[in-house]
């Protein structure tokens, strides 16, 4: 269990992950031990079942959508690098990062990337648009059986109406950003580490 953790993660790998995600050394080793404890098959990758074994995630109405975000298109296994890359979206934005050199590539935890993560939860078929159907499906996931189809339909219609600006009856990523421009995304989509 624990004794394998530090031996399997090499220093070079930790450095690479640090550069890519911005997590600190100790955060990476901790998350690695979390990764190995979830990896029941002990093959260095996580499958969807491994995630579903977490009870608190299984009862989350959007649990399946969140799990899906970890797996790239068409793949069923995620390795530690991919795991960290996805978790990096939730790293808090530090002050010294805000004024970074704009030419350098955008960090994974920028405001825009956090919004992109949320956008992808809605965009089921990954075509960069949230259609009325997709919005309905996600709404249905969140409310279960407690709201009727008509009510849900009218909620979806109203939402699209307010967000859609180019009249294509679906919400693009830019329209999504516009709707949420006043929301404190940095705080609501960040998870604070204790170390």
């Amino acid at each position: 269990m624990g004794s394998r953790a530090s031996t399997l993660l090499r220093e070079e790998e930790i450095e690479e992950i640090k550069k890519e995600t911005g997590f600190s050394h100790s955060q990476i080793t901790r998350l690695y031990s979390r990764f190995t404890s979830l990896d029941k098959g002990e093959n260095g990758t996580l499958s969807r079942e491994d995630f579903q074994r977490i009870p608190e995630l299984a009862i989350n109405p959007l649990g399946d959508r969140i799990i899906n975000a970890f797996f790239p298109e068409g793949e069923d296994q995620v390795n530690f690098r991919g795991f960290m890359r996805t978790l990096a979206h939730f790293r808090p934005i530090e002050d010294n990062e805000k004024n970074k050199d704009p030419i350098a590539s955008e960090p994974l935890n920028s405001r825009s990337n956090k919004l992109l993560f949320a956008f992808r939860l809605y965009d089921l078929d990954r075509d960069d648009k949230i259609s009325r159907d997709e919005l309905l499906q996600v709404l249905r996931m969140m409310v279960g059986v407690n709201i009727s189809d008509e009510q849900l339909g009218s909620i979806a219609d109203r939402t699209i109406q307010e967000a859609d600006q180019n009249g294509d009856n679906s919400i693009s990523f830019n329209e999504f950003i516009k709707v949420l421009e006043k929301v404190d995304v940095e705080q609501k989509m960040s998870i604070r580490f204790l170390h």
Partner: protein
């Protein structure tokens, strides 16, 4: 004959030495372990042993940390302590907060649904991926310091020669001395209470019993949190109980069958366990007979790693007799008593137990509790569980220990969905009113 002549004198000496040491060893065994066990007397030796071990562990941890700093290695830190800061806000509070701050509309027209609502579920979901309360209860607790057992060491590098020598010595002592000693003891016991006491000595168990005036009496039910089969030995060496449980196969089954001959225990077939009424009837029959020993039950239903108490199954609380709660807390520094039955079998587990340094634990006998007026079995069970958790310093969890092996029920997800729906629909009702 030539070559043999050279060996003869050495041979003799060796034989004599072996003979003497064996006799000495055996006598020590008799004097220090079996005799006191029969009379229930204790020497202070074990406490001294414990204190010395603790000092050695502290020194060992120091050396590791110092060594790591010198070599610029980063130490692996156990993750069972919280990794992330979780805010205990409810679904409603958070979603309202997000909406209030981020709404493009004015505050008067309450909105039904905002696209930002998703942030709450999103963050909670990823938080639970990084760190959740349940899955870590089913694996052994990780320690901050090292107790010289390889099984609990994550930084196993040869940091200093002295440490390695100490570890080597530890291995020699544990496997060459403590283990055979304990195996001999384990195999040679016969009588019930005395044999439990020897077991306790055999495992070098240093048990502190608190509040013995609350010890369970006949006709009652004794309820305790469950970490390992050793719990049974610990409680049974301080009083007689009738055990309830499933018949296991293998070594456990043999032990169970032999116990039934000595004392009227209640064993169930696995199929009978599913029939709750049958179980409840057998238990209440036993309890009504006040000459019979108190029943010992572990309501969690499975072994938990001793950092928390999980949901108590209500069956034993429906019977209606007095419940005597007992809290058992092991000191993990000396040897982890948790039995992860999905990982090791019984024999493997016993081997680990017998080659640890010691089993140190505290047992608290809590004052008896009975079901109050207007309280149902579930509420009673939670009340007892909270008392046990408080006394043992364990986390009180609502989650079911059955999650060790099975999936969580859908009803919990439906509850979350219902909560969120209320938010959407509730505001609509307000609207129609105004």
């Amino acid at each position: 004959m030539g070559p043999f002549l050279d060996f003869n004198p050495f041979d003799n000496l060796l034989c004599i030495l072996l003979g003497i040491s064996f006799t000495v060893w055996f006598t020590l065994l008799l004097v220090f372990i079996i005799v006191p066990a029969i009379f229930g007397v204790s020497f202070g030796i074990r406490r001294l042993y414990m204190k010395t071990l603790l000092k050695i562990f502290e020194w060992a941890t120091h050396r590791i940390e110092r060594g790591a700093k010198d070599n610029n290695h980063l130490l692996y830190k156990p993750y069972s302590n919280a990794i992330i800061a979780k805010e205990p806000t409810s679904l409603e509070e958070e979603i309202n907060e997000i909406r209030r701050r981020g709404s493009n509309r004015d505050l008067d027209s309450a909105s039904e649904f905002e696209m930002s609502d998703i942030f709450y579920f999103c963050r909670r979901g990823v938080e639970s991926i990084m760190d959740d309360e349940v899955t870590k209860r089913f694996s052994a607790e990780e320690l901050e310091s090292w107790n010289l057992l390889t099984r609990s060491n994550y930084n196993f590098q040869h940091i200093s020669l002295r440490l390695t020598v100490l570890w080597g010595l530890g291995v020699v002592i544990r496997y060459g001395f403590l283990l055979p000693l304990r195996m001999k003891n384990f195999l040679s016991e016969q009588v019930h209470l005395m044999c439990y006491r020897i077991c306790v000595r055999a495992l070098t168990a240093i048990i502190t019993y608190h509040d013995s005036e609350n010890k369970p009496k006949n006709g009652g039910i004794c309820v305790a949190n469950h970490t390992s089969p050793i719990d049974v030995i610990i409680l049974a060496s301080d009083g007689c109980y009738a055990m309830v449980g499933q018949i296991h196969g293998g070594l456990m089954g043999v032990i169970q069958k032999s116990m039934v001959k000595a004392c009227p225990h209640i064993w169930f077939e696995r199929s009978e366990v599913k029939d709750r009424h049958l179980v409840a009837k057998r238990l209440s029959d036993h309890v009504e007979d006040t000459t019979k020993l108190p029943i010992l039950i572990f309501p969690e239903g499975t072994c938990i790693n001793n950092t928390s108490v999980m949901m108590f199954k209500k069956g034993s609380f429906e019977i209606g007799s007095t419940v005597y709660p007992v809290a058992i807390k092991y000191d993990p520094r000396f040897g982890d008593a948790f039995w992860n039955s999905s990982q090791f079998g019984m024999v493997n587990y016993l081997l680990r137990m017998m080659s640890s340094w010691a089993i140190v634990c505290s047992v608290w006998y809590l004052p008896p509790m009975t079901r109050e007026e207007g309280e149902d079995a579930v509420q009673f069970a939670s009340r007892v569980k909270a008392a046990i958790a408080r006394q043992g310093g364990l986390v009180d969890l609502l989650w079911d220990g059955g999650l060790k092996r099975g999936k969580v029920k859908d009803t919990f997800k439906e509850e979350q969905q219902k909560l969120y729906s209320k938010m959407l629909v509730g505001t609509q009702e307000d609207r129609s009113r105004s």
